[in-house]
């Protein structure tokens, strides 16, 4: 786990305490670099951060092109798990890696709270 301001750790705690969440990280949206992370063993944080940043950026452009404004939350569903992301106003993405049957509504709320903490 990388060293990070206490606020970052608090933000990640909000997310990882939700049952079914395997890990959480804060990612710089601009360059896809890990800012802070709390991930389970074996998850390649740097690579996930880069891809999450890229998906967020492309999705953001698609939303803007569709006239739907800036992206607030996105949820990638897969056979064996899910990736959930909320953007903080500072340009940091709060990312959760979760089990497939996780309570998406609850994770979304905690991600939004974490984004407020991150600022």
């Amino acid at each position: 786990m990388s060293a990070a301001p206490a606020g970052y750790s608090q933000a990640l705690d909000l997310v990882t305490r939700v049952r079914g969440v395997r890990g959480a990280m804060l990612v710089s949206a601009d360059d896809g670099i890990v800012v802070a992370e709390q991930l389970m063993e074996g998850i390649k944080g740097a690579a996930v951060a880069a891809l999450a940043g890229s998906v967020a950026s492309r999705l953001g452009r698609a939303l803007e092109a569709a006239g739907l404004g800036a992206g607030v939350f996105w949820h990638l569903q897969a056979a064996q798990g899910a990736l959930l992301v909320v953007g903080a106003p500072s340009g940091i993405l709060v990312v959760a890696v979760a089990e497939p049957d996780v309570n998406v509504g609850l994770v979304r709320l905690e991600l939004l709270r974490a984004a407020e903490v991150v600022g």
């Binding site: 998850i43 390649k44 690579a47 996930v48 891809l51 999450a52 890229s54 998906v55 492309r58 999705l59 452009r61 698609a62 939303l63 092109a65 569709a66 006239g67 739907l68 404004g69 800036a70 992206g71 607030v72 939350f73 996105w74 949820h75 990638l76 569903q77 897969a78 056979a79 064996q80 798990g81 899910a82 990736l83 890696v97």
Partner: protein
């Protein structure tokens, strides 16, 4: 036309919640199969009680059956749901002509003309109504009203319905031409269309961006050991999108404004995915 009835009936059987009943009901009405049209319209109304078009269709069928009282109620209901519904306004004007109330007919025609200024039927009927309500002799006023009534009458049996476009993937589904899109992994559009909240076509731009999104989504899911990705839902400040990965790298996109919750969007996407899969099978 028989084939059209068969095709539409088949589509409706596969997806009973589809709005294709509107076309099927109208087609049957024009073929003068009024009992069948009546059944289709009623079943559609049971599933879509708040759809003005469904009440309008039912009213036209009732008018054909000369059940003018109930037709009035249905057009009135359509207008309550959608005050600017041109079909309902024209239908009500038609019925007012029938009972000789030219003034009320003109009021409804004026409202219809404000919504559809280029509709020649409305313009013609309105002109006849105005000419006929100025104290003309009885016979003349009567013949003008009859002509106006004819101009407004629901389309005659022989009139052709717009041909069914087999290339339309989402025919009958809500938002088929502004909120549903089928594209391949390279961002090429296979069907459907997208419009932004201002009504501008944004199909190509959104398709191009989303092709990249799906590639990144697949890489991310693989890297995380999550298996194949099935869907990507995103919430924007003014609306939501739901991207579904269909077989063969085909993507389905559903877009709705924020009044449609994300969970409901997933249900709409599931329904549209069924239509898209059937269409893809037909193309192969």
């Amino acid at each position: 036309m028989a084939d059209d009835v068969k095709a539409l009936s088949s589509q409706l059987a596969q997806d009973p919640d589809s709005l294709v009943f509107l076309r099927l009901g109208e087609l049957l009405r024009r073929k003068r199969q009024l009992d069948a049209a009546h059944r289709v319209a009623l079943t559609g109304l049971e599933r879509h009680p708040h759809l003005a078009d469904a009440h309008d269709l039912y009213a036209r069928i009732l008018a054909d059956k000369r059940d003018y009282e109930r037709a009035f109620d249905e057009w009135d209901m359509a207008r309550r749901i959608a005050p600017d519904h041109v079909g309902a306004l024209k239908g009500l004007a038609f019925l007012y002509f029938k009972v000789g109330d030219v003034q009320q007919a003109a009021v409804h025609l004026e409202a219809a003309q404000r919504v559809a200024p280029d509709d020649p039927g409305i313009a013609q009927a309105l002109s006849l109504a105005r000419g006929g309500s100025g104290g003309a002799a009885g016979d003349e006023a009567g013949s003008r009203a009859a002509a106006a009534e004819q101009a407004l009458a629901p389309a005659s049996p022989g009139a052709a319905l717009e041909p069914i476009d087999d290339t339309q993937v989402f025919v009958g589904l809500e938002g088929a031409q502004e909120g549903l899109l089928l594209l391949d992994a390279s961002g090429r559009v296979l069907g459907g269309a997208l419009k932004n909240p201002e009504g501008r076509d944004v199909t190509d731009a959104v398709a191009a961006y989303l092709a990249g999104v799906s590639q990144e989504a697949a890489r991310t899911a693989k890297l995380l050991g999550l298996g194949a990705w099935s869907a990507l839902a995103a919430e924007g400040k003014q609306g939501h999108v739901h991207l579904t990965a269909l077989a063969g790298d085909v993507l389905l996109l559903v877009v709705r404004d924020r009044s449609v919750p994300m969970g409901r969007l997933a249900v709409i996407a599931q329904r549209a995915a069924g239509a898209a899969r059937r269409w893809l099978e037909q193309q192969r």
